[in-house]
Structure formats: C-alpha cells, structure tokens
C-alpha cells in the first residue's frame, strides 16, 4: 500500500538525529581511553544501564516484527516475546555478575580470563562477528524498509542514513554515546508503546474500524455463483469469468477466479459450501519486476488495509465502549476475527500473490497454532514440534550469549550494579513485551494491517490515532534501529580492535592506538553493514534475528556456562565448543528448508535439513564437545587448570556496599 510521507515524521526524525549527534559530540570530547571507548569508562549508573539494555535489546525485530506477527497470526507471535524475555533470566541468575567480574571490554575477555589463550580470543572474536552480522543485516534492511513509507525516500537512502548516523555515534564516543542513545530510545519506546495501548483501550472495538473516522473500512463483498462441473458461473451476468485457478494449500484445494466487469478485473475465492465467491486482495508481479496492487499501481491506492472483528460477541454491526486489559481479551475471545491467508499462483509470465479471507473464532487467535502447527489434529508433525522446541530453546539460551548485550555489563562499576541493571532491564523489557500482545491484536482488529508489509502494523496502528502519533512512533522505530545497530557495531569493533588486533595478533597497542583501531573498525563494520543492507533489500530477513540467537546459544553459551561452573573446563575444550557450536549451527541453518525457500529461492527443492531452528541439535553438541575435549586435554599435574570458578578478582578492594 502507499504511505504518504508525513512532515511531522520528518521533523521528529531530524530532531532525534540532531539530538543523537549532539550526544555523540558531547561525549567525544571525554572519550580518550580504551576503557572510555569500549566500556564508557565503567561509570554508567545501573538504572541508566538497565534502560539502555532495553534500548539495545528491543530491536526492530521486537518492535516491528513481533507486533506484525501477532497482527497476522495472533498468539504465536507472542511466543517470541515470551522467549526473548525468558532469556534475561539466564542473563541475571547465571551470567551477569560473573561476566562483569571476569571481563574488561569484550565477552572474549571473560571467556579468556582463566586461560590467556590466543585460540579462545580468536574463536570468541569470530563468533562475535558472525552473530553481530546476522543481527545487523535485518536491522539495516529494516531501516531501509522504514524510510520508504515514512520519509518518502528510496530504500538505499534509509540504509545510508542509519549507517552514517550510527558510524558517527560509535566512531566519536563509542560506548558512552551508544549508551545514552540506547537509554533515550529505550525510554521513548516504553512511553509511547504504553500510550498507544492506552489509547487503544479507550477507543474499543468495532466491526467496521474506521481509524477514528479518518478512513472508512472497506466492506468485502461476496457474489453468488453456480458451479457446473469444474467451471464457475456467476449469477450476476455483468461479471465474466476470465481465468480460473486451483491451488493446493497443504492438502486443501483452493479455487480462485478472475472476474471482469466493465473491463475492471478482480480476483475472488470460491466458497463451494455457500456457493459464493469472496473478494480477495492480490498483488501481481509482472515479468519486469513491477508490481500491481489489486490491479492498479501503488499510487492508485486500490489495496486496502484490513483486519477487523466480523462480529462482536455474536452481534454485527457492533461497537464496544472503553476496554481494560482483561475485557480486551474477553471481547476478542467471544467474537469472530477476520484473518487473511496467502496463496501464490504462477500464471504464465506473471505471479499472483492472493490474500483471501479466513474468519476464525477469537478464542483461536488467543492460543498457539497459527504459525507453529503443534496439534496433530491440524496437521502438526514431529518436525513442527521439534522446530518449536528448538526456537524456544534458542530464545531462552541466546540472550545471555549475545555479544552486544554482554558488553553492556562492562559499562557499570561493579557486579552488583550489573545485577541491578539486569533487573531494571527485565522490568522494562517485560513491560514492553506485554504491550506487544495488545499492539498486535489491536492492529489485527483495528483495520490497519497492510498485508504486503506486516512489519508496519505498529506504526499503522499509531497512524489510526493521528499523524502526530504516527510521526512519533515512526521516529521511535528509527531510533530502535539506531540503538541496536550502535550496540552491534561497538561489539564488532571491540572484537576486531581489542580481541583480534591487540590480544590475538599481539600488537601491544597503546590506549590511544586501541581507540583509533576501534574507531576504524567501527567505520569498516558500519560500511559492510550498509552494503549488506542494500544487497539484501528484497530478501525476507526477519528470521535472521532468530538465527543469530541460535548461533549465539550454540557457540557462546556452553563456553560461558562451563567456564563459570565446571572446574575441569580447558582452553582447548572452550575453543572446540565455540567452533563446533558456530559451525554446526551455521551448517544446519544454511542447509535448512527455510534457507532453500527464502534465501536461495529454491522452493521446489527438498533441503537436506528439514528443521529450521538448529539450537536443539547444536547447543547439546557444543556442550558435549566441550566436555569431551576438556576431559582429554586436562593437564596431568592437578591444580594448574583447576582454578576455582569462584576465584574472582577483587572489586577494587572495597567492601560490597561501596560497590553498589
């Protein structure tokens, strides 16, 4: 659908960028040392760090992706919220304080604190770069996707703007400016998401949601027909059937017909039980790559926003009064929701993507099953269940192993502050994820969903409350990308300058040279991220974030946990575990059916690996390799390797109270 660029969106976006650049300039003057650059001097207050954690963690995948997934599929999208938040429990209870005690600038420092092994430094740095890259690509593509509808600029301009601003943030003041950008972004995201949900409650539901009176809801029509043999005949003779297609959708036969009336074509779906044709929405991709929306160009605006309740508690038309957090669910549960399903059809040299109506009981959208087919009664298989378990495992174990999250522990003064900042992060992130369910369901029932771009569901829900709200939420969405990309680039820059150049290659750099190397690395990684963001433009990359979690959980977490809690862990065991976790997770991902379908564009080729999330295999494998290799490489003289996990550097010789 076509989005008109909002002047307010541009003004608010420019103001935000100006603020971010001012922060970078302000901290640049104060950032002279390596500790200042890579860890903000370890002087950030735990409460600020906690919100900055939220700003770092709540990426475009969380804000745009989850809300969009819930808007399209209901509760299944919320499973990501649950998994993403649960991962913080691992971070708090197991990782936060020890990582702060053991590390200095990067998570490789913590892994290597006990061994001083070049191999650990190198493998941990490579793992950091791979995970960060998997995380960076969707953020950059997301930046481009946002800029087109919101500011009316081409995709590459969006990538370039975000890339340039982020390089300035990171290359000027490193972690200090990044922290405050993430703090502001985290705060804004929470405040305006909460405001959006409150206004949603005050509006209530309607069977014909008109976006506050701004846009009349398109009522989809039906046409009576007769079916003779396999041919459809329309009762209203002003329509002529010009094409007819059948498609197989997981064993279910779907019939579509193209009708002509007064030379205007439209596509309809057959409901054989009721003997009617139902109106659809469709996108035609022409041989030259151009797209038509409901037969017209994007400027003709023929493609409608959708999503509504067909009846409210059995009544239609109907409208509710103001809702509260419980009645919101109660109304949906007892109503019928109009969802939309998708079917692709190849017709000669054009490809049709047809979106057809799929009414479901509200109770169904409030429970799992629309993305993850776990119930065998609706076709769920063992593979589906393994995929689901694997995803939930990756989300649970991945958070505490994400390099850009771990380095934030070095920005506070003490392990106690690290713990407290994690608790603030859990509160902030938990609140946001609760709100995602309301925002997603609000979009699903509010007539705002753009079926061609479900990632826009949250901003479009905001637009239904007015252009200013839309502009603010859009600016927050940009800020979301800026905050997360900054964190990723700081992590990558540390891996290159501190782990590889300084520690692995043994360049023995001075503080000044290390900061310079970090800045050059930040610019280089930023440029690579921009190039990838432009190259991957047309690729559906939202699932790359899920894969980044799988890789982090497989490559990093076993090493972190075993170093902390298993005294027999050896350096070679850690190196083997990181390498095997990284390679096995990557191999399983690259050979999975999803990669064949969506990355290699080979939907008709059966991939060697049918499961799409590797964590269920690669995480146990990584643990196993670490244990076996460690047992075989233990030093013969006892004690040299068995430094107790609890032997921890003192905290500047101060009693605990003073370190809070």
């Amino acid at each position: 659908m076509k989005y008109d660029p909002s002047v307010w969106a541009i003004i608010i976006f420019i103001s935000f960028v100006a603020l971010v650049l001012y922060i970078s300039w302000y901290f640049a003057k104060r950032t002279k040392t390596a500790e200042g650059y890579f860890a903000a001097g370890g002087k950030i207050h735990w409460s600020i760090n906690g919100i900055a954690f939220a700003g770092d963690y709540l990426s475009a995948a969380s804000f745009l992706g989850i809300a969009g997934m819930i808007a399209i599929a209901g509760y299944d999208g919320f499973l990501y919220s649950i998994g993403y938040l649960a991962g913080w429990v691992v971070a708090l209870f197991v990782v936060a304080e020890p990582i702060k005690r053991l590390g200095k600038f990067t998570f490789a420092d913590a892994l290597d604190a006990k061994f001083n092994s070049r191999g650990i430094k190198l493998t941990a740095a490579i793992s950091t770069l791979v995970v960060s890259l998997f995380y960076l690509i969707p953020q950059m593509v997301g930046a481009g996707t946002l800029v087109t509808p919101l500011l009316g600029m081409p995709h590459w301009v969006g990538v370039l703007i975000v890339g340039t601003v982020v390089i300035i943030i990171v290359a000027t003041a490193g972690m200090a400016s990044t922290t405050y950008v993430q703090f502001i972004k985290g705060g804004l995201l929470l405040i305006f998401s909460l405001a959006l949900v409150i206004t949603l409650f005050s509006r209530g539901f309607s069977t014909a949601p008109d976006q506050g009176g701004n846009i009349e809801y398109h009522q989809f029509t039906t046409i009576p027909i007769t079916v003779i043999g396999e041919n459809i005949e329309v009762t209203d003779k002003s329509y002529a059937v010009s094409e007819q297609w059948t498609a197989d959708n997981k064993g279910k036969t779907l019939v579509f017909a193209e009708l002509s009336k007064d030379s205007v074509k439209s596509i309809w779906k057959l409901d054989a039980e009721k003997n009617i044709l139902e109106e659809t929405l469709y996108v035609t991709t022409l041989p030259d790559g151009k797209k038509l929306y409901n037969g017209g160009t994007i400027d003709e605006a023929k493609f409608y926003q959708v999503g509504n309740l067909l009846d409210i508690e059995g009544k239609a038309p109907a409208k509710t009064k103001t809702l509260d957090p419980l009645t919101f669910f109660g109304v949906i549960k007892n109503s019928t929701v109009l969802l939309w399903s998708k079917q692709a059809i190849k017709d000669n040299d054009r490809t049709l993507t047809i979106y057809y109506q799929n009414p479901v009981k509200g109770a169904e959208v409030l429970k799992p099953g629309r993305i993850y087919k776990l119930d065998s009664a609706i076709g769920g298989t063992l593979k589906d269940r393994l995929d689901f378990i694997s995803l939930m495992l990756a989300l649970f174990l991945g958070t505490a192993a994400l390099p850009h999250i771990l380095i934030r522990y070095y920005t506070v003064a003490s392990p106690i502050a690290a713990r407290k900042s994690t608790i603030v992060a859990i509160a902030a992130i938990g609140l946001f994820y609760v709100l995602t369910l309301y925002m997603g369901l609000g979009a699903m029932t509010g007539g705002v969903v753009d079926l061609t771009n479900d990632n826009m569901s949250a901003p479009l829900l905001a637009r239904s409350f007015g252009v200013i709200f839309f502009a603010i939420i859009s600016a927050v969405a940009f800020a979301t990308v800026l905050g997360t990309v900054s964190g990723l680039i700081v992590a990558s820059s540390g891996a290159v300058a501190h782990d590889i150049m300084d520690k692995y290659m043994g360049k023995k750099m001075t503080d000044r040279k290390k900061v310079a190397a970090g800045k050059i690395a930040a610019v280089a990684v930023g440029v690579i991220a921009m190039v990838l963001g432009i190259l991957f433009k047309n690729m559906n990359v939202s699932y790359l974030v899920g894969w980044a979690f799988s890789i982090a959980a497989s490559a990093n977490l076993p090493a972190i946990l075993m170093i902390l809690f298993w005294k027999k862990t050896t350096a070679k065991g850690v190196i083997a575990s990181i390498s095997v976790g990284l390679i096995s997770a990557l191999t399983l991902i690259l050979l999975s059916q999803k990669t064949f379908n969506e990355v290699y564009n080979l939907p008709n080729v059966v991939a060697p690996v049918q499961i799409n999330n590797p964590a269920i295999f690669s995480v146990p494998l990584s643990f196993l390799v670490l244990i076996i290799v460690s047992l075989f490489t233990r030093p013969k003289t006892s004690g040299t390797d068995a430094i107790p996990a609890t032997k921890i550097p003192k905290i500047e010789g101060k009693p605990a109270e003073e370190n809070r």
């Binding site: 499973l79 708090l92 304080e97 419980l326 109770a363 689901f388 938990g430 609890t646 003192k650």
Partner: protein
C-alpha cells in the same frame, strides 16, 4: 598489621559462591516453569485454549512467565543483598575486632606489658 584486600578477597569469594548458588537454583526453578510451558504447548496444544475468566491458559501462562521473571529477579536481588549485607557486617565486625585488638596491643605496649 594489614587488614587490606587479601582478607576481603576471601570474604567476597564466599559471598559470590552463595550468590552463585542462589542464582543457579532460581535459574533451575524458572527453567522448570518454562519447560512446562513448552511441554504444554507441544503435548497438549488444546489445553492452552482452556478458559480462565476472560482470558485463557495461553495468555495466563505467557504473562505469568514474564511476571514470574520479574518477581524472581526482585527476590534474587533481595537474597543477594542479604548475603552481601551479612558479609559486610561480618567484615565490619572483624575489622572492628582487629582494631580493638590492635588498640589493646598498643596500650599494653605503651604500659610496657609486652
């Protein structure tokens, strides 16, 4: 007589060990609840649709996991704080005792009793 870091190191390591144990048990507790959530979804998806007032089990469990994480985080912080306070009190007591002993020693020395 030096009452400096060497002794504090020992105390801190002990407190860290206690906190680490608390963390592992709380982590295991949460993991069990999280695993039950996954098992319910996989083994009996229909159960997740069970009506609970205006909502269903899926929403109660999902929100419950988020709220439980926060509640356990606060409890963990309180327990860690308690362990740190205890260690701190013991440390202060020890320092005080050492000072007193040192003072007595000095007094005895001044009176020529040593």
């Amino acid at each position: 007589m030096d009452h400096g870091p060497a002794t504090e190191w020992k105390e801190d390591a002990k407190t860290s060990k206690i906190k680490s144990k608390i963390g592992i048990w709380m982590f295991l507790g949460y993991t069990v609840v999280y695993a039950i959530f996954i098992i319910f979804n996989v083994a009996s998806p229909k159960l997740m649709g069970l009506d609970i007032g205006m909502v269903n089990l899926a929403i109660v469990f999902g929100f419950g996991l988020i709220v439980l994480a926060l509640v356990m985080a606060v409890i963990y912080n309180a327990l860690c704080g308690w362990a740190e306070e205890k260690a701190l009190k013991l440390e202060k007591l020890r320092v005080h005792k050492d000072r007193m002993e040192h003072k007595d020693y000095q007094e005895h020395k001044e009176h020529g009793e040593v």
